[in-house]
Amino acid sequence: MFLEDVKIIENIQIADNYYLMRVEGDKIPEHSKPGQFFMLQCQDRSRVLRRPISLHNVDGNILEFYYESLGKGTEEFTKLPIGETINIQGPLGNGYDTDLEGKNIVVIGGGMGMAPIKYLIKNLKDNNKVTFIGGGRNAGAVKIIEKFNFENIKIEVATDDGSVGIKGNTVDLLMKILKDQNIDIIYTCGPHPMMEAVAKVAQENNIRCQISLEERMACGIKACVGCSILTKKGMKKVCYDGPVFESTDIVDLDVIDPNGGCK
């Protein structure tokens, strides 16, 4: 883990409120895993908390963050020009298990849940057969997929309005795949209802499934205990024990509040 001022080398709008920031630093760790995140500091220090942003990709000493402008903090990030520095802390948390070979894998990203997907696929594709399902409300929500540029990866897309891919959702596409293929593992990140549905399908079909949860956090390193959730293995910190969890470790997917946390 490190704490460093890194230089912004690109910060572009992908669509709607979706942005992609690329930063360059000296200490960029090669050991960071897909699913891990960084805490980005706001320049306006009246915003006392860092923003947890998922690691989108690592390319040499360059980190990529795909993020959504949701509030004043992330809105501030969208205005940072090239050449500006931003203080980042990370990599944090427990990422996806990518130590696999010869597996038939489905990766599902929904909307902002596409954030950790690029790096995840990059780490899986050479040793496994990977199918990617991307979904979102509209074309803007899935536009980032155009930047994935992967060869030999089957990509299927669903949008709520049918503007890109099929009109429907990622679970429809997953069900279709499961009819024809034996899938070993499913990885997913996206809105709560989507992950809940995916996890249920996985559990019904006895397929291992890793999901990435989101929660408001203050410290990012389990010191503040702000992001705890109730799991089958007791209280776990999304920042430290997660954000990636085995879906079966979550006590009851219904208790995951759509806004994070347990009801």
């Binding site: 500091q41 006392v48 802390q89 992001c227 705890s228």
Partner: protein
């Protein structure tokens, strides 16, 4: 390093007056990737209760202007687990460890005080009568003068270790409560705990926090903390552990000048994980530049008499009361 920052706090020699705030530093090792925790004066560990607690459900963190709300609700593994992990923490942390203890009812406070009294690695105890995020106990004790008196008195009976009582700012007269706990044998007071507050999600038309209300911390509460420490330090003869929005060396000096003998860092570390080291260097530099031989010389410097009376009452050497 000079001895300018060495202080005698509750009879313990601390390398410097910089401590952590309970609930913001885990169990002492969480920040070790960012700085050596042994650089601190002492570490105040996450609050513990007799039984394990899951804490509050729903969203627990909300950012507010220059501050944050939390409603963690004292999630902790309970005293038995605490006893198991303390020896391994002590292997890495060679500074005094402060246990923050909590109870729902008086008997539980007494029971947990008895437990921590037996834990060799714990040198100081912080009696938390001010958590705003638990329905029973917590602030109920700290907000009521007679309850504060009772719990301090009864815990004192079973605790020979130095005891700091952490006070709630959610009261009309903080001085009254501070004097009461001093009368009942507190060796020091910690102030302030968080201010009770709330935030609303206007899109969902409901409170942001699952527990509706939470404790406000961060720079937003700093003026309140300074005011209360200023008032209390002019009324008591025991040292104050000051906290509430410290995020720079200048803030730390302000706290010391209003009467804090030591300071705790909480929310400030979330934004800046190396804050304790920055403040340590900053205080050292400040003392050097201002010809201050020891930081304790400026405790209460902002008092009308420059703090002389308070420092005199403290005796410069904060002996443990028997």
């Amino acid at each position: 390093m000079s001895n300018r920052l060495n202080i005698n706090f509750l009879g313990k020699k601390l390398n410097n007056p910089i401590m952590t705030a309970s609930g913001c530093f885990g169990y002492g090792l969480e920040y070790k990737d960012y700085f050596n925790p042994n650089e601190l004066g002492a570490a105040v560990l996450k609050g513990i209760t007799m039984e394990p607690r899951n804490g509050n459900s729903g969203t627990r963190i909300a950012e507010t202007p220059s501050g944050m709300l939390n409603s963690v609700g004292l999630e902790n593994p309970g005293i038995e687990e605490f006893k198991k992990i303390i020896p391994s923490i002590k292997k890495e942390l060679h500074i005094p460890l402060v246990a923050n203890i909590n109870g729902k009812i008086l008997e539980e406070y007494i029971e947990i005080a008895r437990e921590v009294e037996q834990i060799e690695e714990i040198e100081i105890v912080e009696l938390n009568i001010s958590c705003p995020n638990v329905k029973d106990g917590g602030m109920a004790f700290g907000a009521n003068p007679e309850m504060a008196r009772l719990v301090t008195r009864e815990v004192r009976k079973v605790l020979t270790k130095p005891m700091i009582v952490k006070l709630s700012p959610n009261v009309t007269n903080i001085v009254e409560i501070a004097k009461i706990v001093e009368e009942e044998g507190a060796d020091g007071v910690a102030l302030i705990n968080t201010l009770l507050g709330m935030a609303v999600d206007i899109r969902k038309r409901k409170p942001v926090l699952g527990n509706i209300m939470g404790g406000l911390s961060g720079p937003a509460v700093k003026p309140v903390a300074l005011r209360m420490i200023y008032q209390v330090s002019q009324a008591v003869s025991i040292p104050i552990l000051g906290m509430g929005g410290i995020s720079s060396t200048e803030d730390a000096i302000e706290f010391i000048m209003v009467g804090a003998s030591a300071i705790s860092l909480g929310t400030g570390m979330f934004a800046n994980p190396t804050l304790p080291i920055e403040i340590k260097k900053g205080l050292e530099k400040y003392c050097k530049e201002n010809n201050i031989d020891n930081i304790s010389e400026i405790v209460g410097a902002a008092h009308p008499d420059g703090g002389a009376a308070y420092r005199n009452r403290l005796g410069g050497n904060y002996e443990i009361k028997s």
